[in-house]
């Protein structure tokens, strides 16, 4: 098995995770014995990622910075098979959710996770959640620095943080190391963007108070350039201000975005800077040795430059149209010549977005061992990524993915839909999401048509909590409940590309479930008629405005 090219736990990390499993085992025992009430137990189980959903418990497993070794992916498959129904759901926050967990089995499932240096710590609850990153980190051609080094530093600092384990509300941090943000840093509680200043040093732009949910907001920059060794001091200062002033009187106003909105970004900056000034020379300052020791573990695999023009690839391109389309949509440039980043689409036509069976997970692990340096990534668009594939191996990788059903040439296209679990699983949802996604992806399954339509992101949430990120979909779909009937509200013009982060605008009255496909069809038809040159759907929308779309949809519906 190839060596991993990301952080490996040492004895300290392992000890902490197994002690956490032991603590949780005792908490479960006390609950089952009746020593803890549900009210007391619920926050305890949530801080270990265990929810109670409609039909069963759900375990949310953290995949820090979306990076997995094949050994870890195989263990996830094994856990899903042993303690669940043999499949899992990859989420928009680089987690894996198992939907049919039993409380009495959860400690053993967590112990199996700990065997491969994984956990479910802080995947729920009002505390610092799993830190997310660019899923192309370490391979992207436009990257300034690997953001996962910093994610790991933040992961350790935030794990069982004694001061910030009972915040007003959940707290999500994302880090990107590329100018082309693939981590949606402007819609997180704290977003960190690595960039290089004129002096040639890299540091962080600190963005605070973004988020989707009930009150979507785009984050505000409170510091243009933070020296990297002060990262933890600045985060601790930010969290302390939030812990103290964040609202606790109203659940819907308790995120940091509301605090920033209410006191203003200037006051937020002042308070954070004052706290930071008092702490920056404390033990939180990162030493060069500490940074270097973690950075070393993220050293990229030693890939040798290879041929970029490979006759077999060129031949297959001519002979197999699906492969040619797949190269266009699912294969991205790699920083090492002769290599590529391959996205395995977890969105085959008609399938629940982001779901993978245990057998499929094992299949992806086999492919990654053979052709991607034993490494797999989880993207926030609910796909899996093979980060280091030689171009000459693409035909074989394509065929292997095809056998798994994960070779759909649709990444970034209309059927690459993000959807939350919705009312089929979730106790908070008002409407179903997955069946809507399935109908849209079945309707638009034809690949040439998808490629003709071009880049179009549909994002579906089953309630206002917006786990499906509908606010930032080019087409956003929000399920609502009106007198027991599921209706779907459509919004247009959302985006998460860096510099262009935008929230969608509601198009008009919500439509019934069986009219959603027709409505999307009408939107696409309007775009195709109006588009100029290489305009994407969202560009055409920005140029011509909502009116033509509105007329077509409500004329047609």
């Amino acid at each position: 098995m190839p060596d991993t090219h990301f952080y490996r736990y040492d004895d300290y990390d392992r000890a902490l995770v197994s002690e956490r499993v032991a603590q949780f085992r005792d908490q479960v025992r006390r609950r089952l014995a009746g020593e803890l009430t549900e009210e007391q137990f619920k926050p305890l189980r949530l801080t270990n990622g265990l929810y109670l959903q409609l039909h069963a418990y759900m375990l949310r497993i953290a995949i820090p910075y979306g990076t997995l070794s094949t050994r870890q992916l195989r263990q996830l498959a094994a856990i899903a098979r042993k303690y669940d129904r043999g499949y899992g759901h990859f989420t928009t926050r680089q987690n894996l959710q198992l939907n049919w967990i039993k409380l009495e089995g959860a400690p053993d499932a967590l112990a199996m996770l700990a065997e491969v240096d994984m956990h479910a710590i802080q995947t729920s609850g009002n505390l610092i959640r799993n830190v997310t990153a660019d899923h192309f980190a370490g391979a992207a051609i436009d990257e300034i620095e690997d953001p996962r080094i910093w994610c790991e530093i933040v992961r350790q600092w935030s794990t069982l943080h004694p001061e910030f384990s009972f915040l007003p509300r959940k707290f999500k941090i994302a880090i990107t190391g590329s100018p082309n943000d693939r981590a949606a840093v402007r819609v997180h509680d704290v977003g960190l963007r690595l960039w290089r200043n004129e002096a040639g040093e890299t540091g962080f732009e600190v963005i605070v108070g973004g988020g989707l949910g009930r009150t979507p907001m785009i984050g505000k920059t409170i510091r243009e350039f933070l020296p990297k060794d002060d990262l933890l001091a600045y985060l601790e200062a930010t969290l302390r201000v939030y812990n103290r002033y964040g609202r606790r009187d109203n659940l819907y106003k308790s995120r940091i975005k509301i605090l920033v909105h209410e006191i203003g970004p200037e006051k937020m900056r002042e308070d954070v800077e004052a706290e930071y000034a008092a702490m920056k020379d404390s033990a939180l300052k990162l030493t060069p040795e500490t940074i270097e020791a973690i950075a070393r573990q993220f050293a990229p695999p030693a890939l040798r430059s290879k041929r970029t023009k490979v006759p077999e690839v060129e031949a297959l391109k001519l002979e197999n149209r699906a492969f040619a389309l797949w190269l266009k949509s699912n294969v991205a440039p790699h920083r090492v010549p002769g290599h590529a980043i391959v996205t395995a689409s977890l969105k085959p036509a008609g399938a629940p977005p982001g779901d993978a069976s245990s057998a499929q997970m094992e299949g992806v692990a086999d492919i990654a061992d053979a052709w991607s340096q034993g490494e797999v990534r989880v993207s926030h668009e609910q796909n899996l990524v093979l980060p280091h594939v030689a171009i000459e191996a693409l035909p074989e990788v394509y065929r292997a993915l095809e056998r798994l059903g994960f070779a759909e040439a649709n990444v970034g296209k209309i059927t690459d839909i993000i959807a939350c679990p919705g009312l089929d699983y979730c106790a908070l949802a008002n409407a179903r999401s997955i069946p809507v996604a399935q109908r849209i992806s079945t309707h638009f399954a034809e690949l040439s048509r998808q490629h003709d339509i071009g880049d179009l992101k549909i994002k579906i949430s089953g309630c206002i909590n917006a786990c499906g990120h509908h606010h930032v979909g080019h087409i956003g779909i929000l399920g609502v409940d009106k007198n027991g009937v599921e209706l779907y509200q459509i919004s247009l013009g959302g985006d998460v590309d860096f510099g262009k982060t935008a929230l969608g605008t509601i198009l008009g009255p919500a439509v019934e479930a069986d009219k959603v496909v027709e409505a999307v069809d009408a939107l696409v038809a309007t775009y195709l008629e109006a588009r100029q040159a290489d305009e994407r759907f969202v560009d055409t929308y920005r140029r011509i405005g909502a009116q033509p779309f509105k007329e077509r949809v409500y004329g047609a519906v």
Binding site: E19, Q23, W157, P162, E163, S165, F166
Partner: protein
């Protein structure tokens, strides 16, 4: 309500009781000579007093007794201890046993706080310099 104190001999007068909305950095001379500060958890999910405790201990150098009252349960103990609390009011069954175990529940800590524990990061640095030497 039972009281659990790590330093049973410590002087408890004069005492100062604070709400979890009080700004501890603005206490000024109200802190002078104080031997006991009582911080409040209205609900165990309301974590403001953790920040107050750390500021008192680490920023203001308060060395007297620091007591947690209100919704104080044994599962909070590892956090409370790390933030500098050394005295607890709780009704929960098994609290005394849990207090005895709380410091060893986690053999590893990542965050430097004022509790004197050596973090994983510091231990790694020591190991590396030992190897280098």
């Amino acid at each position: 309500m039972a009281l659990f104190r790590l330093n049973p001999q410590a002087v408890q007068e004069p005492a100062l009781t604070l709400a979890n909305t009080d700004d501890v950095l603005a206490l000024g001379d109200r802190l002078d000579g104080v031997k006991l500060i009582v911080l409040h958890f209205p609900k165990f999910t309301d974590g403001r007093a953790y920040s107050q405790a750390r500021l008192l201990r680490e920023r203001l150098g308060y060395a007297g007794e620091l007591r947690a009252t209100g919704a104080v349960f044994l599962d909070q103990l590892p956090f409370l201890l790390r933030c500098g609390f050394d005295s607890f009011e709780s009704e929960q069954k098994g609290f005394a046993e849990a207090l005895a175990r709380a410091r060893t529940l986690f053999s590893v800590v990542y965050q430097p706080t004022g509790d004197g524990r050596v973090t994983a990061g510091q231990l790694r640095l020591r190991q590396r310099s030992a190897v280098a030497a």
